[in-house]
């Protein structure tokens, strides 16, 4: 297709000619074709007709000759027929079989194409003529056409006709071409019109020629109309454009600094803003080149250079003018080209971007500082070494302000000790102060109130001494405080050797760093504190159990310098609980602190004193070579030291200590085992009467195991109904009769029999089993009383011991009341005995509960009176009915006058307070006698009866057992 398109004529004349040529040739070809065909058919028809005629003529001659048998004449006739005829051959076929054949000479060379010859031959038929004379057939005459000859004739005709047609075709085309060109030549007027327009004659019109073809005239008129319309339209557009251009120029002059520069670089025009910006006169400017007006810098170090060229130049410049003030311009230099492509002039458009650049610098500066802060912040979070962090803070402060001198100093507030100090770029570094801390602390106000204010001061820094300032040539500074807690305070300063105008942003930056540093220091301090708290007892400042465990473990595992032996002293204060309970926790705490100091005083250098918790302490001693003597000496020192009175709240309080000792490796290879064994040894010391020390041995553990076994059995004893009650009578000294009973708990183990109360009562207390067991006792007593009543056995009040744990149960009174009601027992038949220490654990709560109990009609007595620590004031506060003098006083009442005196005093005191007095543990008549003398109301003890089971007691009642006969026997004797 493209090839065909490329063949298409370009000019209108050629196209019309080509079109006409195609048309003419098409018609000519068709016409000639039809003509040739017609000629062919007509020619052949004529030939055929001629042949018919010829054969007819010849036949007549032949007929005449054949009749007479003149075959020569026939032959001649045939010859004549052939001469100048279109025949190739002439035959006479005799019916008898003879043939006379004559062949025309082949004279003319063949020139017609074969297809014409074959076309002709196909249309020509031999001409036959029966030769019949008088009804008799003599033969047949046949003429055969010479197709080649006829074809040649026709071919000649075709050639001639074709050549003629071609000749006329060419003549016609030439004529047509001439005519078309002549007509189209009028369009040439449009070319000259275009030239006129191009030369500036915009008002010109294309010329109209009268003899031009009508269409061309119309076209030229249309062009003229269009040109007029466009002139009008573009005139308005140009006017509008000019107005716009003027407005744009005015707008440009308003916002831009514009000048025109000649091709050689000299300024040829400046606008008002240029004059104003350059601070030169217009006349002066017109003498200069553009780079003479300002000194320009393309970048920080690169001077601006511009040579006239034919490319647009665009860029930002830092310009310094006559006054030395720097400004930033966005400059665009546009070359204006002339027709030849050379530079005619340049237009230089500057826009003042000073504000934007300063803003950009500020933003970049801020971003850089934020980045530095972020980096420092990251370090502050992860850096363990505060010294390194201080160094980094100093460096970051200097870098952020792009200065090279910075100093940091942080002091402990309380000790005024320097805890952090760092500097960057200081030639001669020395902190200003002596003592430093005071000065820094006094400088805090100065730093925070006057941003960058030290620049103008004679002493520009509170941190640096004058000598340093002078030596380092410091002229201005910014110093901020580093503070965040009560622990430390400091100053971070950045210094400049010029009069650097520190801004609020600069101060804020340095302060942010200081705050981050302060936060890191606080965190470090808090971490140290936490570590200390984790490892030490806050009350005594001694290492705690956790630390001790670690210490012990490390000491054992320390290789190769592991000690030969490590002894652990497990120290438990005896009776600390009593002090704590009776005198309050604060007194108990004070006791612990004093005990700690005494233990520390006992301690040799290579050892550790730790508080394990409560009233338990431990001393760890490492031995290069084990010395039992040394340990014994130490244990003795400890027991002695703690046996001395502690002065608490003005009172001398006596406690003692039980000490257990276990030694690595013989008593265990593991820290936990050694501590446990030391604990076991301590427990044995306690069992051995307290205020002593015991070395651990294997049996102790067995004892402990046994104890644990017992405890396990005890837990199921209630369910197995292994507890029983024994009753010990109280005797009235007024009449010798039984005045009451004391119910005493006994544990009857199936295989071992009765267990000593001393072996299981403390366990009940420790394990809390005392509460359900205590309730069982109350219930059992009530049940027994009811049974006795039912059996008509004489009943007397029964006393039940209440433990401290029971008194802590708030609804004790209600429980008691419910049981009484359940069994229908008169409350007067019930009495509760409490020790002094039980009452003093929580006196307020105890008063309340006891009053409730008392309100039911139940009696209350104080057991073991005289052995506790209570003041006599409680005798007034509690609703007590009876005092029981402790057996310790009764035991030596005969021999020890002090005990006798105390007993007497108690009896007198009780009577004065309207209380009944009972002496416990009365075993001899001497004791009885003395008590009677001193007016004691009742006694209790083996003298009368040891505790017996309820059945035995019932039997005793049945037998009217009384003290009377014995009294009669002995006293009255």
């Amino acid at each position: 297709m493209n090839f065909l398109k490329s063949l298409r004529p370009k000019s209108l004349t050629s196209r019309i000619l080509a079109m006409l040529s195609i048309l003419i040739i098409t018609f000519l070809t068709a016409g000639l074709g039809l003509f040739y065909r017609n000629q062919l058919l007509q020619h052949i028809e004529e030939i055929q007709d001629t042949a018919s005629m010829l054969i007819e003529v010849a036949a007549q001659a032949v007929e005449e000759s054949v009749v007479i048998g003149d075959y020569d004449t026939i032959k001649r006739t045939l010859e004549r027929t052939l001469a100048r005829s279109p025949f190739k051959s002439a035959l006479f076929i005799d019916l008898s079989g003879g043939v006379i054949r004559l062949q025309a000479p082949d004279k003319r060379p063949e020139k017609a194409p074969d297809w014409i010859v074959s076309e002709v031959a196909a249309r020509l038929f031999d001409v036959n003529r029966p030769i019949t004379v008088g009804g008799k057939d003599y033969g047949v005459m046949r003429l055969s056409f010479n197709a080649e000859k006829i074809a040649n004739e026709l071919y000649d005709l075709v050639l001639q006709a074709t050549l003629l047609a071609l000749f006329f075709l060419l003549i016609s085309l030439a004529l047509m071409g001439f005519m078309i060109k002549r007509s189209l030549a009028h369009l040439g007027n449009l070319y000259s019109y275009e030239a006129e327009i191009a030369s500036g004659a915009v008002a010109a019109e294309a010329m109209l020629v009268a003899d031009a073809p009508m269409e061309i005239q119309e076209a030229i008129k249309a062009v003229n109309r269009t040109a007029a319309s466009m002139r009008n339209h573009f005139g308005q557009r140009i006017e509008s454009l000019m107005n716009t251009l003027v407005q744009h120029k005015n707008a440009l002059d308003e916002v831009s600094i514009v000048c025109e520069v000649s091709a050689s670089g000299r300024i040829t025009y400046v606008n008002e803003r240029f004059v104003e910006s350059s601070q030169r006169s217009k006349a002066e400017l017109l003498e200069l080149t553009i780079d003479q007006v300002w000194t320009g810098m393309s970048s920080a170090r690169q001077p601006w250079q511009w040579a006239p060229e034919n490319q647009v130049w665009n860029g930002e410049l830092r310009l310094t003018g006559q006054t030395g003030t720097a400004k930033w311009h966005q400059r665009t230099i546009i070359p204006i080209l002339d027709d030849t492509g050379g530079v005619e002039k340049y237009i230089c458009i500057d826009i003042d971007i000073t504000d934007r650049k300063e803003f950009e610098v500020a933003i970049l500066d801020n971003a850089r500082r934020q980045n530095l802060i972020a980096l420092f912040g990251q370090q502050a979070l992860i850096e363990e070494d505060v010294g390194a962090l201080g160094k980094l803070a100093t460096l970051t402060a200097a870098q952020g302000l792009e200065l090279n001198k910075a100093v940091l100093s942080v002091v402990d507030r309380s000790s005024r000790r320097v805890i952090l100090e760092s500097e960057v770029g200081m030639a001669q570094w020395k902190i200003n102060t002596s003592p430093l801390g005071d000065d820094i602390i006094s400088g805090i106000d100065y730093c925070s109130d006057v941003p960058g204010g030290s620049g103008k001061s004679a002493t520009p820094s509170k941190l640096l001494p004058n000598s340093v300032i002078e030596n380092d040539g410091i002229r201005s500074s910014v110093e901020v405080t580093v503070t965040g807690s009560e622990v430390f305070v400091g100053i971070l300063g950045v210094y400049s050797t010029i009069d650097y105008p520190f801004t609020r942003e600069d101060i804020s930056y340095v302060q942010t760093l200081a705050n981050l540093l302060a936060a890191a220091l606080e965190r470090d301090d808090a971490k140290k504190r936490l570590t200390y708290l984790a490892e030490n007892d806050s009350l005594t400042d001694l290492p705690n159990r956790w630390f001790l465990n670690n210490y012990l473990r490390e000491a054992i595992q320390r290789k190769p310098s592991a000690p030969e032996a490590i002894s652990v002293l497990f120290i438990d204060l005896d009776r600390f609980k009593t002090v704590n309970d009776t005198m309050g926790h604060s007194v108990g705490d004070e006791l612990l602190i004093q005990a700690s100091r005494r233990l520390e005083d006992c301690m040799a250098e290579k050892g550790l004193v730790a508080r394990l918790g409560g009233d338990e302490f431990s001393i760890v001693v490492t031995h290069r070579s084990y010395s039992e003597r040394f340990i014994k000496s130490l244990a003795t020192d400890v027991v002695d030291a703690l046996a001395k009175p502690f002065t608490l709240r003005g009172q001398d309080i006596f406690v003692s200590a039980s000490v257990g000792i276990a030694t690595y490796p013989q008593d265990g290879c593991d820290a936990g085992v050694i501590l446990k064994n030391a604990d076991t040894a301590m427990y044995n010391a306690k069992k051995s009467g307290r205020n002593n020390y015991q070395f651990y041995n294997f049996e102790m553990n067995e004892s402990e195991i046994k104890r644990l076994h017992t405890e396990t059995l005890l837990r199921g004893a209630l369910d197995r109904d292994e507890f029983i009650l024994h009753f010990q009578p109280k005797v009235s000294l007024a009449d010798g009769n039984i005045s009451g009973l004391e119910a005493l708990l006994r544990w009857n183990r199936p295989e071992q029999g009765l267990v000593s109360p001393a072996d299981f009562i403390p366990m009940l207390e420790e394990t809390g089993l005392i509460i359900p067991v205590g309730a069982w006792v109350i219930r059992k007593v009530c049940e027994t009383l009811r049974n006795w009543q039912a059996d008509n056995i004489k009943v007397v009040p029964v006393a039940i011991n209440l433990s401290a744990r029971q008194l802590q149960v708030k609804d004790l009174a209600k429980t008691v009341k419910a049981i009484l009601e359940e069994y229908g027992i008169d409350p007067q038949l019930l009495e509760f005995e409490l020790t002094e220490s039980v009452l003093m654990i929580d006196p307020e709560a105890a008063v309340e509960i006891l009053r409730d109990i008392k309100s039911y009609g139940i009696r209350l007595s104080v057991d073991d009176f005289g052995t506790g620590y209570s003041s006599l004031a409680y005798l007034k506060r509690f609703p007590i009915d009876t005092l029981k003098i402790d057996r310790a006083f009764i035991k030596d009442i005969i021999d020890n006058h002090e005990d006798a005196a105390i007993t007497r005093a108690v009896i007198v005191l009780a009577h004065e307070l309207d209380l009944t007095v009972i002496a416990e543990g009365v075993e001899t008549f001497e004791q009885l006698e003395l008590l009677i003398e001193n007016g004691c109301d009742q006694i209790q003890g083996y003298l009368f009866s040891k505790p017996v089971p309820s059945d035995a007691w019932a039997a005793m009642i049945e037998s009217s057992f009384s003290l009377q006969p014995q009294l009669a026997e002995d006293i009255l004797v």
Binding site: Q48, D49, S52, E56, I93, L95, F125, D126, V127, N128, R129, P130, T132, G134, G135, K136, D137, G139, V140, R142
Partner: protein, 283 residues
């Protein structure tokens, strides 16, 4: 006598060649030449399908040998170049001797020879033809030339005979005024008049003659002749044959459907009668 091996090979080759020749004789071709009653193209279009059909049906190979004029057909008969012809030119006493045999004809009414002038001709009777040119298809045309010219001779009307070669040519010469009258057979006259929309004035009409006869040369065997004759006559009964006939009828605008029916010499007795009564010079 014993033949040498070489002679045996020659004899073998010859015998083979002769057997091939005998075989090719069995596949011999017969030329069929009908008298050209129309023009060459029309005649060829008319006859070629029929001859092809008959060849296929009969098993006898026929080829059409068309001559421009009846003289051509007659010449082919005389020179024995054809063995089948559709003609009425060989009923003269001399030619009957050739032994050709009529076996069929078109199922058409007999035709007459007529002497006609154009309808607008001033000539009203034969006598007015004295000295005038009368055009005929050809000297061999029996109904169109021999019968009319014999009548003119019988009435001693001297005319000059012009031979146009075929019937269309004769009509052309008559209508162009080249000839004043024309000898023509009644069938072709009505066909031409209808086809070309011309009208003519009939000056004389001959007794009726059956039109051209399907004839076979004595060289054709009776079996072959029967086969060919049956094929011609059974064409209407055969779908393909009847189609060919229908197309041929339409081609030449014949009044009635063209079919071929058996015929005998008796159907052409009128021809013999004509020759018998013909003056000696005109035979």
């Amino acid at each position: 006598v014993t033949l040498s091996p070489y002679s045996k090979i020659v004899v073998f080759i010859l015998s083979f060649a002769l057997s091939k020749m005998a075989f090719s004789e069995e596949l011999k071709f017969y030329n069929f030449s009908p008298v050209n009653q129309y023009n060459l193209n029309l005649s060829a279009s008319f006859w070629n399908p029929i001859i092809k059909y008959v060849s296929e049906k009969s098993g006898v190979n026929l080829t059409l040998k068309l001559g421009r004029t009846s003289a051509d057909t007659t010449s082919y008969v005389l020179t024995q170049e054809v063995d089948f012809a559709f003609t009425n030119h060989i009923f003269s006493p001399e030619r009957v001797k050739m032994g050709w045999k009529v076996f069929g004809r078109r199922n058409a009414p007999p035709i007459e020879g007529k002497i006609v002038v154009p309808a607008d001709s001033p000539i009203q009777n034969l006598l007015q033809l004295e000295g005038q040119e009368v055009v005929y298809p050809g000297p061999e045309a029996f109904i169109a030339y021999k019968v009319p010219s014999a009548e003119l001779a019988r009435q001693k009307i001297t005319t000059s005979a012009v031979f146009a070669g075929n019937m269309d040519g004769a009509f052309s010469q008559l209508l162009s005024g080249k000839a004043q009258a024309m000898g023509v057979n009644s069938q072709l006259l009505s066909g031409y008049a209808e086809r070309e929309g011309k009208s003519f004035r009939v000056l004389w009409t001959s007794p009726p003659f059956n039109d051209l006869a399907l004839m076979a040369s004595p060289r054709v065997s009776a079996k072959e002749l029967d086969a060919v004759a049956k094929a011609f006559f059974d064409m209407p009964q055969d779908a393909y044959g009847s189609k060919i006939l229908r197309e041929a009828t339409e081609l030449v605008h014949a009044e009635a459907s063209i079919t071929f029916i058996p015929a005998t010499e008796a159907d052409y007795a009128s021809y013999r009668d004509f020759y018998k009564n013909l003056p000696e010079y005109n035979k």
